[in-house]
Structures are given as C-alpha cells and as structure tokens.
Symmetry: C2
Subunit: 188 residues, 2 copies
C-alpha cells in the first residue's frame, strides 16, 4: 500500500460487517492505514455493524446495497412487506445512520442492474455510488453514467487485471482501459 | 493457530461474503489452514458468495442467520412480502444450496433471540447452530439449550476473555467458565 501514488483513491474492498465491538476493530485496522481512504461494508448485521466505520472523518464507507453478482437476487432483491426491496431499506437506514457521523457514506450498486438505478437515486440523490460490474460482468456503462454521474466511481477490476494470456499483459490492460475511457467520454 | 491443541474445534469467525471469484479465494485462504475447521459467512450477497465455502469436505460453513447484536433488528428481522422474516429466507435458501455440497452447513443464531428459536428449528430441525450472545450480551442460555441442544455450539468470548481487571485474570476466566458449565449441565 505504501507504494501507491498519493493521488490514487484507495478503496479497501473488505466487505466487513460484524458486531459493534469487532466492527470498530476492523474499522481501526483498515481505515487508519495511511493510504486507505475508503472501505466496503456488508450491512446484514445492521446498525452497530456499520456505524463504527462511519466514525472516521474524511474516510468513506461504501455500504453494499445492490451488488453486481447474480446472487444479488437472493436477498437484496427480496420484496419486504412494505413493498420496498431489501436494498432500498439498506439505503434508507444507512443514510439515516450517516446523518450524524463524521465519515462519508456511499453505496455499492452494480452496473448489472440498470432497471433499479432510478430507484437508488430516488432514495440517495446526492450520494456517491461505487459501481463494479462494468467489464468482466458485462454491466451497462451507459446506464451507470446516465443515472449516477457525476457522483460515481466506476471500478473495473478483473477486466484489466487478468490479461496474463496476452503477449504483452501491461499493454493489453492499457488498451482495454483506453477503450473504456473513450466509451465513458461519450456520455459525459 | 499451529499451537492450538488437535482436539479443539477452530472456527474462523471471519464473516466473509463476496462475489464468487473473491469468495473462493477467501475460502481457500481460510479453510485450507490446517487447524481451521469452520468459518462464518455473511449471506447478503447471495448464492455465489456463500457457495464457494461449501465446497470443502469436512469443513463447516456457519451462515449468519439471526445474529446476537442489536442491529439484527434492522434487516434480518424485516418481514418479507411472503410473510417470512429475512433470516428465514436465508435459512431456507442456504439449506437448498448445501444439499449438493460436500461441506457442512450450520447457522449463526444469537442467544439473544429466544422468541425466534422455534422458527429456526422449524426450517432447520437437524442443522448445527453456532450460538453467540451468552455472556456479555446477556443471551438466554436455557432457551438455547431447550431449542437447539444437542446440535449447538455455544461460544462465549468476551465474557471469558476480558478478565484483565481481575487480580488473577486466568483464574477469573476459569471461574466464570465453571459457572456457565454448571448452569448448562442443569439442562442436559
């Protein structure tokens, strides 16, 4: 981590979430690292599992709302008796918890769910979205930009990382990144 | 971990849960450790986040169902449109996923929820329960034994670990453990 340039935003994609006592310790261990600016947090255990991460000023906590993987259907897209999806309840409650906290709240919403992005923005019109799922998972880059820009961080991992079968892996990654950047520039 | 006696059941209370690709790597990193027999897993991300842990024969995956902390109310006890609680849906789906897997499935159900234990056993009559919340969190040991014994692992952490203010911390922990054992023996 020490070798990462100062102007790179480092997100610890740790997906932590534990009882309050353990979450505080994870928060300290990870968010106190000098170059780490953000963490991802899993909300299943509720308030006291998320809250400790929100106590670090100028650090970001991205709560998993609607993730990019297929399994998102299993629980996140369950309808509650209120008519809302579980992921909406996660967004609504987390926003309330963050009102009085020094940390900065964001949400993880996958690019693979264009049909739910409007709903995300209804509840969280100004919140930053960390958006995986463009690239290997085949997410919808245009929908991401339409609904979430400019408050969105699009992270592309495996699509760029796994180029080891190419003749020049570094060049191959550069080329892929350039294609995505050109694509993005169209919609900004 | 290497110094733990061979007959001690080691649970990595890691509460992992990530997209399939990352979950497989967590599963390998943790469950391939020689003395680790079990792991705890957070179900928010659904099937492909839980499934990789279930692919290790003779290793146990305890899925978070109804945790012992206050935050359990926020999402786990949300009612779904089906009338079920979210934690019931987690139990039902996880049991289905484990049907074809070589690993052994269990659930985390906190001792702080005596009113829901019957419901847990309705869905999972034979599944092992990992039960935190006795001790510092004030859970109901009698209810735990009534509903879950003999297929239950009661883990008591902070209540025994944090005796550093006592004159002889080791003796103080021994004494506390003996009291709980006597209490448990009454109901077996």
């Amino acid at each position: 981590v020490g070798q990462i340039p100062q102007d790179v935003f480092v997100i610890a994609d740790a997906k932590r979430g534990d009882i309050g006592n353990s979450s505080s310790k994870y928060a300290k261990a990870i968010l106190n690292m000098d170059r780490v600016t953000a963490i991802t947090v899993s909300p299943y255990m509720g308030f006291d599992s998320v809250n400790p991460f929100l106590h670090f000023s100028n650090k970001w906590t991205f709560v998993l709302a609607l993730t990019s993987n297929n399994g998102a259907d299993d629980f996140q897209l369950q309808r509650l008796s209120s008519g809302k999806y579980l992921f909406e309840e996660v967004i609504i409650k987390s926003l309330k918890w963050a009102e009085v906290s020094p940390g900065i709240l964001g949400f993880v919403v996958g690019a693979t769910h264009p049909e739910h992005m409007e709903l995300v923005r209804k509840h969280a019109p100004n919140t930053y979205i960390l958006c995986p799922g463009v690239g290997t998972q085949g997410g919808d880059l245009q929908a991401v930009i339409k609904h979430f820009a400019p408050r969105v961080l699009i992270n592309i991992g495996r699509h760029l990382l796994y180029t080891e079968n190419q003749e020049d892996p570094f060049k191959a990654a550069q080329k892929k990144a350039a294609i995505i950047q050109t694509e993005m520039a169209k919609w900004f």
